[in-house]
């Protein structure tokens, strides 16, 4: 009798927990995707939840590709991506009844970073492409020291990986020797220890808690032309004007017109409070130009 009572109590408790979990899942906004954006969006979500009673937002990483797949398969409400969707992905989404709408949450200046012991200061976009395609295997060939190039990059699920491949590598294959790390943070940690290293990370990952560039890193200036002026990705004016060649919008996509709680969250992100946090975290705000216009259209 006693054992039956305990057993029944356990079963009821399990059912109760399952019920709570189901209820929570019902109103929790699931956000998945870009590793470049994950820290930023997590902080945005935390601050939003602090200000909005009853809001529940779960933010996961996994890479832009994972987020996009998640939205297409309807396992998340918002997909973060640090790149544009490919036509294949948009077609697939429509096939599955998902009509993606894109909101620009922030702007990133994709940063090319080396170890602080590397004497180089500047590279052209073409030179970075040559490094990452594996055409150039020694720093000497791009005007640096006599040392083998140690490439750090992301994996194929990363939006940054795809963006680099399209805009810097000219849609050619990456070098097979590139180490494919699991996220921006791992690239930075690897760079700090490896003297011949080069890596690409989002601009928000460059700074430590005090707002200074992480110790052990050097951010390279990038120029469009061989003898042109190079700009740093931390240079707000250069990123805004397009003088910095590797700036890119960071997208949050929803399936169709966002539902009220999702729309409220997104609206807060592109509003003044959210954008202040974007700036605080080292990224760039959306501003008043074409991104804002597109956002306003997509909210309707």
């Amino acid at each position: 009798m006693k054992r039956t009572k305990i057993f029944t109590a356990l079963v009821l408790a399990l059912l109760g927990l399952a019920g709570i979990a189901a209820a929570q899942r019902a109103k929790m906004i699931q956000v998945k995707g870009s590793d470049t954006m994950v820290n930023l969006v997590q902080i945005l979500a935390e601050e939003y939840m602090g200000k909005t009673p009853g809001a529940a937002i779960a933010v996961l990483g996994g890479g832009s590709g994972t987020g996009i797949t998640g939205l297409i398969n309807q396992t998340c409400d918002i997909a973060n991506s640090s790149r544009e969707w490919k036509q294949k992905e948009i077609d697939q989404a429509w096939e599955k009844g998902v009509s993606p709408r894109f909101f620009v949450a922030a702007v990133d200046g994709l940063s090319i970073v080396v170890n602080e012991k590397n004497p180089l200061e500047q590279l052209t976009v073409a030179q970075v492409g040559a490094l990452y395609r594996g055409d150039v295997k020694n720093w000497k060939a791009v005007g640096g020291m006599e040392k083998a190039v140690s490439l750090y990059g992301r994996q194929s699920n990363s939006g940054t990986y795809v963006f680099m491949q399209e805009f810097v590598l000219g849609n050619k294959n990456y070098s097979a020797d590139m180490k494919e790390m699991n996220g921006n943070a791992q690239i930075i940690e690897g760079l700090i220890q490896d003297e011949g290293a080069v890596g690409y990370v989002g601009v928000g990952y460059l700074h430590d808690q005090d707002g200074k560039i992480r110790k052990g890193l050097k951010v390279l200036k990038i120029s469009k032309e061989p003898n042109g002026t190079g700009f740093l990705p931390t240079d707000k004016a250069a990123v805004d004007s397009g003088a910095y060649p590797l700036s890119r919008p960071l997208y949050m996509a929803t399936s169709g017109k966002p539902k009220s709680d999702v729309a409220q969250f997104l609206g807060w992100i592109v509003g003044p409070e959210g954008q202040a946090i974007v700036e605080r975290e080292g990224f760039f705000i959306v501003g008043e130009g074409k991104y804002k216009a597109a956002n306003d259209k997509n909210f309707k």
Partner: protein
């Protein structure tokens, strides 16, 4: 009378329940195998089997030409597993021999639980140790820029395979009949000679089975190698190269691959290869252990 019938029913019910559990276990295994095969086969409509097994280039999302060759990943798996066994088997046998033959019972009481705890450390934690502790140490020792290579993977996998190898080897050494021990000592052999020439050969099948099970653990390990080996696609030319194992290859890409594309099927094909390898290893270990148990009887 009724009490007897009720107890009969209860017996039959419990027997049926255990039988069902056994059947479910077999069904799950068969189900997994069938799922892998059925999802892997469509890949070979687009990919030639020879290219899949023999090409060194794996780049399914390449904008130039999609490549589906797993040879580099297979080689990487072989390298880290081989390296792990090279480290773990001698150490494992030595510790097992120490525990079963040499150690004072008090030392044994402490050491055995510690070995069990080692088996319980999550693979993520070991991977983390690989990045922050072993990686920098390796880069200092071998004068490479970084420690994200096959040596790192081997060391970490050795740590993970060690408890399995130690436990099973120790069991098999303990199962050697005392008569062998006593006879050897009576004939004038020293304890070291007894250990080396009598106990170890007698327990050899058990030790081989232990090594194979440790190998099975190392082959299937994903998180540790994903974090600590660098995941470069190139065919590894040495242990100091960054490698990408089959398990890491699947883990990296399965999250974002669109369902039911060639890439998706190809990932399942890699899974099938892994399943077959692990199954074969476990089967051989089982046969060897079985033979050993038979012989002892």
């Amino acid at each position: 009378m009724r009490k007897k019938k009720l107890s009969h029913l209860k017996e039959a019910g419990i027997r049926a329940f255990f039988f069902t559990c056994g059947v479910v276990a077999v069904l799950v295994l068969v189900g997994i195998f069938l799922t892998l095969v059925l999802t892997a086969v469509p890949a070979f409509r687009e990919i030639k089997l020879s290219e899949f097994l023999l090409s060194k280039a794996w780049d399914p999302t390449s904008p130039e030409k999609a490549e589906y060759g797993i040879l580099s990943m297979v080689m990487s798996t072989i390298m880290v597993t081989g390296g792990a066994l090279l480290l773990a088997v001698p150490i494992g046998i030595a510790v097992a021999a120490y525990l079963s033959d040499v150690a004072h019972w008090r030392v044994r009481e402490i050491l055995k639980p510690i070995v069990e705890i080692l088996a319980g450390i999550p693979s993520v934690v070991i991977g983390f140790l690989g990045i922050v502790l072993i990686g920098p140490a390796l880069s200092k020792i071998f004068h490479t820029g970084n420690g994200l290579n096959a040596v790192n993977g081997s060391v970490l996998l050795a740590i993970m395979a060690l408890p399995t190898i130690i436990s099973i080897s120790e069991d098999s050494l303990n199962a050697v009949p005392k008569a062998y021990n006593e006879a050897s000592l009576a004939l004038g052999a020293s304890r070291w000679q007894t250990l080396l020439r009598v106990k170890l050969p007698a327990g050899l099948s058990g030790i081989i089975a232990a090594a194979m099970l440790g190998m099975g653990r190392a082959i299937g390990e994903t998180m540790t190698v994903l974090m600590a080996t660098g995941n470069a696609r190139a065919f590894p030319h040495g242990f100091l190269d960054s490698v990408r194992t089959m398990t890491a290859g699947i883990a990296i890409e399965l999250g974002e691959v669109p369902y039911y594309t060639t890439h998706y099927y190809a990932l399942f094909a890699i899974g099938l290869v892994l399943f077959v390898i692990t199954f074969a290893v476990n089967l051989v270990a089982d046969i060897v252990l079985h033979k050993y148990q038979e012989r002892e009887q």
